[in-house]
Amino acid sequence: MKTIYLTDGAIPNELISGMIGNLKKKTDSGGHMFFLGQVRADEAEGKRVSAIEYSAYPEMVQAEAEKIKNEILKEFTDVRSVDIVHSNGLVKTGEISLAVLVAAGHRQQAFEACSKTVELIKAHLPVWKKEIYEDDTHIWK
C-alpha cells in the first residue's frame, strides 16, 4: 500500500488521533515521540500572518519522504516506525501543518530520531510556503 505523505489543508485532529490509535498495534514499542508543527501568527512590519499556503512537488515528496524514513530506520536501530504527514494548500494560524510520529523500543532513540526526521524534512522535502497576511498581501518563504 502506498503511504500518503501530503494532506490537503490543515492536518485534522482525526488524522492525528488515528496515528496515535495505530500505535496500539506496535506492541514491540515502548516510547513514542510525536512532533506537531503549527502555523504561527508571526508579525512583520506591523502585519500579522493569517495563514500559510503550502505548495509541493508531490512525486518528489513521496520519494524524499521514503528516503528520510529509510535513513532514520537505518541509523536508529531501536526505531520501529516513522510516520510523516505534511500539509499542502491553505493552513490557517493555529492549525497543524506537519505531523511526525516516531515509534521506538525506548525513549532515547524516539527523541533523537524524531528531531532528526523533522530536520531532514525541512532540508529535503520539496515543499514551499507563502505567508499570507491579514491584509491579503503575501511573502514567499
Binding site: 508543527g37 512537488y57 512525486e59 518528489m60 501543518s97 524534512i121 529535503h124 520539496p126 514551499w128 514567499w140
Partner: protein, 85 residues
C-alpha cells in the same frame, strides 16, 4: 536525429514556489533541448526575472547539474529553497 546519439527532445518544465508567481506559469514544454545547460538558457530567454532567485534543477525528481542530457519524457523541476514544516 543522427547516428551520434544527439536527439532533440521535448521536456516538461515545472515551476515551483515563488518561481510560479514570478514566471506566471506552473508548467511549460520545451522542444529541441539536449541538456540542462541548454534548457537553462532557453528559460533565461523566456523568464529572465526568475534568475534573480535562487533555485536548483531536478530531472525526474533528482537534483542535477548542467551537463545532464535529456531523454524523451524527462520531467524537469525548478526548485527554490525548500520551506516545509
Amino acid at each position: 536525429m543522427g547516428g551520434w546519439g544527439v536527439e532533440y527532445m521535448e521536456v516538461k518544465v515545472l515551476f515551483f514556489g515563488v518561481l510560479t508567481e514570478v514566471s506566471g506559469t506552473a508548467v511549460k514544454h520545451y522542444q529541441d533541448v539536449r541538456s540542462v545547460g541548454e534548457l537553462r538558457l532557453r528559460i533565461q530567454d523566456d523568464f529572465p526575472e526568475i534568475f534573480h532567485y535562487n533555485f536548483r534543477i531536478a530531472v525526474n525528481g533528482e537534483i542535477t547539474d548542467n551537463d545532464l542530457l535529456f531523454k524523451t519524457g524527462d520531467e524537469v523541476a525548478l526548485l527554490p529553497p525548500f520551506a516545509g514544516g
